[in-house]
């Protein structure tokens, strides 16, 4: 089914994209309710965050489970500087840049770590960043957080109303997906994927693994930072409790439920996960129970994710020594011979 969809898409690429774009623009005019718009805006935040994590986990096969740390840096960078009166539009980008520098600082000493070790280090960094944000009261407001984060001017409107803010987020979602698409279909993207598939072979072809892993981390962190920065003015208030490890796991589940190693996967993932938790609101305290069962069922039924093809199943091989089903297939093939 996915294959058919794909060929259909490839045939009418421009038209489909144009229709999608038109729909995206029309959306706020069709939906009246702010709460529905707000949910859509939340989904779009997560599209950016999940896509940025997908760049790291899905394309270069590194395993980052502390993504919330990057989001935190982005959010706080914008909030702190916005208090000093810096223009918000500039800060969206600047927050991304700062986050990607932090990403580089984290990546440099950890370049030779793989799999579970890298996972634990990212998790550790995420917690360290959160605790610093909680304790460095002078800079971050500590447990008091930062309130009254201003929204940017937008066509003469300065409002965090979801109908207006939607366009700002939409803009960044499009840029994020667009740049990711272009980078992935270039020398850089191919180098990332070669590292994911087989780092020894990549090395033997002259791919500077350290450099490309670092670039990968920086690119992923950049968008995580932008995503975090986008959230702050919309919610007008941030504190460190918004960037716990659970938040990182949440983003990770979106990537994997959607399908990592594909551009569309994180998009599908954030839509599905956020809608589900919203739909099961009627279940009251059993809400997260249902969500938990859904995650597990998902891994049983479709481990490559909703939008994933078999190509992305293996996307995170560095986490496992075994080559998964693929190796089995290979072995069988040899036996036949």
């Amino acid at each position: 089914m996915t294959e058919k969809l794909k060929t259909f898409y490839n045939k009418r690429k421009t038209i489909i994209l144009l229709v999608l774009f038109a729909m995206a623009i029309a959306l706020p005019f069709l939906i009246e309710k702010g709460s529905v718009m707000s949910l859509i805006v939340r989904i779009m935040f997560y599209i950016i965050l999940a896509s940025s994590l997908n760049i790291i986990n899905g394309y270069s096969g590194q395993f980052n489970i502390g993504h919330a740390g990057f989001v935190l840096i982005g959010s706080y960078t914008l909030s702190i500087l916005a208090q000093l009166g810096w223009p918000i539009w500039v800060l969206y980008i600047l927050a991304g840049v700062v986050t990607s520098i932090i990403g580089l600082i984290i990546a440099l000493p950890t370049l030779r770590l793989r799999g579970i070790y890298l996972a634990l280090v990212t998790l550790g960094f995420s917690e360290i960043l959160r605790l610093i944000a909680l304790n460095w009261t002078g800079l971050t407001g500590g447990p008091m957080g930062i309130k009254g984060i201003p929204a940017p001017w937008f066509f003469g409107l300065r409002s965090t109303a979801p109908h207006n803010y939607y366009f700002i987020v939409l803009f960044f979602v499009i840029i994020c997906l667009f740049t990711s698409y272009r980078v992935i279909n270039s020398k850089v993207g191919r180098a990332w994927m070669s590292i994911r598939e087989d780092d020894h072979a990549a090395m033997s072809l002259g791919v500077d693994i350290r450099k490309y892993k670092a670039i990968n981390f920086m690119f992923g962190a950049f968008w995580a930072g932008v995503g975090g920065a986008l959230m702050a003015p919309f919610y007008t208030f941030i504190d460190s409790s918004m960037f716990s490890l659970d938040e990182g796991f949440n983003i990770l589940s979106m990537v994997i439920i959607g399908g990592q190693g594909t551009l569309i996967g994180p998009v599908v993932g954030s839509v599905v996960v956020n809608l589900t938790t919203e739909i099961f609101r009627f279940a009251d305290e059993a809400r997260l129970l249902i969500y938990a069962i859904m995650i597990m069922a998902m891994m049983w039924i479709r481990p490559q994710g909703l939008a994933g093809t078999s190509r992305s199943v293996i996307a995170n091989r560095s986490l496992g020594k075994e080559r998964g089903t693929f190796l089995k297939k290979l072995l069988k093939k040899k036996e036949v011979k």
Partner: protein, 256 residues
Amino acid sequence: MGVLLQTKNISKYYGGIKAVQNIDMQVEEGEIFGIIGPNGAGKTSFFNVCTGNLLPNGGEVWFNGKNITGMRPAKIATLGVARTFQNIQLFNFMTVLENVKIGFHTHEKTNILDAILHTKRYKEDERLTHEKAVNLIERLGLAKESDNLAGNLAYGVQRRVEIARALALNPKILLLDEPAAGMNPIETKELSDFIKQLRNDGHTIIVIEHDMKFVMNLCDKIMVINFGKKICEGGPDHVKSDKEVNEAYFGKGTTF
């Protein structure tokens, strides 16, 4: 014709096990150089030292008049040393075309900004890479596999894709680690012809094998390794008649 790849006194130990001991080797430009030896003789370890995948415990590796000992594999690859792996290490979930395109990595100058903005440099790179990759694939007779996932190909074809990927580097020297392993006689013959063709195209080639016949027919010069030591070096005829080699390979008392 000068010396292209040279090792001086290379040793590699794993704990107490001496995998490679004091091996000297000289490979001249334009020759097909064979390394043979029984399983576990240290061929692949020696190979990995030459390509930088392993650090030697002693000795030096020189390539094209440059000391490359201790350089990172990626750097060595950039200098013009390409290799294949004993147990085929293709990028299984990428297409054949993508696999070969990665081979051109060192020739591309695109950086991340070029990619995002689609600058002239990006377009030029993509066009050239695509052209060259398609050419290379055609040259190796892989045209009809171009869009298949590398992992789904037949074994012999995978070998060829791996060689194509290595050739994309446009290397001065090509190191093939047991290229004939698991092939049937017809495929082996084809491979042998293909390697000769490569040499005629101007590549220098080192081949590891333990299939004696394959090596004898193919190589200009052969080095024999046993228990990590070089026991013999010379042309096929010289090696064939060497007593020590025969003992190492077939036990005492046998002759070719």
